[in-house]
């Protein structure tokens, strides 16, 4: 049985932290350019909610999320496809190995200058950097997932005389789903981090840019409000993907453990 005290338990620490921040900002460093009490941040956020243009919360959030989502979609489509080929064929893996190991360590944000030159400001540049950043982990994890398919299941497929196509669609791909989901969740958090980073560093749109504007106009309350909002959005998206993952795991016969990973 879940009682009220147990339901409230996870909130104790964050609320305590907020109260401490409120007290520190009010009495330790009043009028600071870096810190603002959470109550003022909340007010600033309320104002930003009704604002329009670059400072509009809805517009900025939509920009960041759609760029992150499209970038992830592109990165995942390419990464999963190529990872599957490299995971299933030793020859392809041997051919691709060097190129991957040379390109993979390039930090994705180092691509921002190039992306700016090629695409200019806006969606396309942000999407391309997110796609590059998410492509690698999805490629590597998909490749590993394809290789880790239970060998005995492949023998079962062999013994039953399944065709190569049926073996891939009925055995290999479904067997990879749990690991693919881990890769996807990693990709989702990567995509959000990289999208906000691109906006802070270069792209004049989205939540990262709005936070930079607040910082440059010496509005710590608004800046902190954006910071908290970005955190909340990230939390919500992570919770959504986790729910999706559980729903699919349940449909695929995985016993419900109730343990959060």
């Amino acid at each position: 049985m879940r009682t009220w005290p147990t339901l409230l338990r996870p909130w104790v620490f964050p609320l305590l932290l907020l109260a401490l921040l409120e007290a520190a900002a009010r009495w330790l460093v009043p009028g600071s350019d870096a810190l603002a009490p959470p109550s003022q941040a909340l007010q600033a956020f309320g104002k930003a909610l009704s604002a329009s243009g670059d400072e509009s919360v809805l517009q900025a959030t939509a920009f960041t999320l759609s760029s992150a989502a499209l970038g992830l979609l592109l990165g995942a489509a390419l990464g999963v496809t190529l990872g599957l080929v490299l995971g299933l064929s030793r020859r392809a893996a041997a051919m691709g190995f060097l190129s991957i190991e040379v390109l993979r360590p390039v930090p994705s944000v180092a691509l921002i200058p190039l992306a700016m030159l090629v695409f200019g400001f806006g969606y396309r540049m942000e999407i391309s950097v997110v796609a590059f950043a998410t492509f690698w982990p999805l490629l590597i994890l998909t490749q590993a997932a394809a290789r880790q398919v239970e060998p005995q299941l492949l023998e079962v497929a062999h013994a039953l005389g399944l065709s190569a196509w049926a073996r891939t669609t009925q055995i290999v791909l479904p067997a990879m789903v749990p690991r693919l989901f881990i890769a996807l969740r990693l990709g989702v958090s990567f995509a959000l981090v990289v999208a906000v980073t691109v906006e802070i560093a270069a792209n004049p749109s989205g939540m990262g840019y709005a936070m930079m504007i607040a910082q440059q106009s010496l509005a710590p309350d608004l800046m902190l409000a954006w910071l908290a909002w970005i955190g909340l959005v990230g939390f919500a998206i992570n919770a959504l993907t986790l729910r999706l993952q559980r729903a699919i795991a349940h449909r695929m016969g995985e016993p419900h453990t109730g343990v959060a990973p």
């Binding site: 005995q152 497929a157 399944l162 695929m252 995985e254």
Partner: protein, 257 residues
């Protein structure tokens, strides 16, 4: 009437990783026979079974089915793996797992439900068709695997220590069930086990293998007929003088000295 035996090993030797696992071994399995292969761990009994199923090629000699060399797995040969947990698709229900064999055999979708229901009834799992493997006990999961093999409608069923991971009670009830199934279907079975009593209880013939074969001590240590009437009974058969005699005769081959 086919002239050549269903399965024939003619001086089959198997080397794996530079080591001789099985020294040249010859035996035949006739249609409808239940043959158990027994021996200590590392004697190559599973390797022999895998060669007979076409999962690996012998290093020497000839493994023949109906007089033709075995070049790979065939739908006529079903294989029951010891580790049922890794042989069933965890994302498919019991019915879905059986369906896999029918899909592989190209059975039209509208015929599948009837055939699935039929084999599930045969193994006593009719009420569990919509459950996932993880919701079943080990014994029931192994029944699902056996049902999938039956759905394949093979002429030969290979069983690799199928009850080795189950508790003794479950193992014994599955022994009786497999005996009954084999009698009613006329299936030919090649069954690997390290349990001597299980081997004698199930078999028409027991082949005993020894580990680390040498020139004067080849892999094939003994081959004995089990002439005990069927149906057999867990209590009566195991007290039968012939059963006890065979048990005594074969005991030494299992590493007991």
């Amino acid at each position: 009437m086919s002239e050549s035996p269903l399965l024939r090993f003619d001086q089959v030797g198997i080397h794996l990783g530079g080591r001789e696992i099985l020294s040249p071994t010859s035996f035949e399995v006739a249609r409808g026979e239940f043959v158990c292969i027994i021996g200590p761990s590392g004697c190559g009994k599973t390797t022999l079974l895998r060669a007979a199923a076409g999962f690996l090629q012998p290093s020497g000699g000839a493994a023949l089915r109906h007089g033709k060399p075995i070049t790979g797995p065939s739908r006529e040969v079903a294989f029951v793996f010891q580790d049922y947990g890794r042989a069933l698709l965890p994302w498919r229900t019991v019915a879905g797992n059986i369906s896999l064999a029918l899909e592989a055999a190209g059975v039209p979708a509208q015929q599948r439900p009837d055939r699935i229901a039929k084999v599930l009834d045969t193994v006593g799992l009719g009420a569990h068709a919509t459950k996932f493997p993880a919701q079943l006990s080990g014994g029931m999961q192994q029944r699902v695997q056996i049902a999938r093999c039956l759905a394949q409608e093979p002429e030969l069923m290979m069983m690799d220590e199928p009850f080795g991971a189950l508790d003794a009670m479950t193992g014994e009830s599955l022994q009786d069930e497999v005996s009954r199934l084999v009698r009613s279907t006329g299936l030919t079975v090649l069954f690997v086990t390290h349990d001597l009593e299980e081997a004698i209880y199930l078999s028409d013939r027991v082949i005993a293998l020894r580990a680390n074969p040498t020139a004067d001590k080849p892999s094939l240590a003994a081959m004995v007929e089990v002439k005990i009437a069927r149906p057999r009974d867990q209590l009566l058969t195991k007290e039968h003088p012939e059963f006890l005699r065979l048990r005594r005769e074969l005991y030494g081959f299992l590493g007991h000295h």
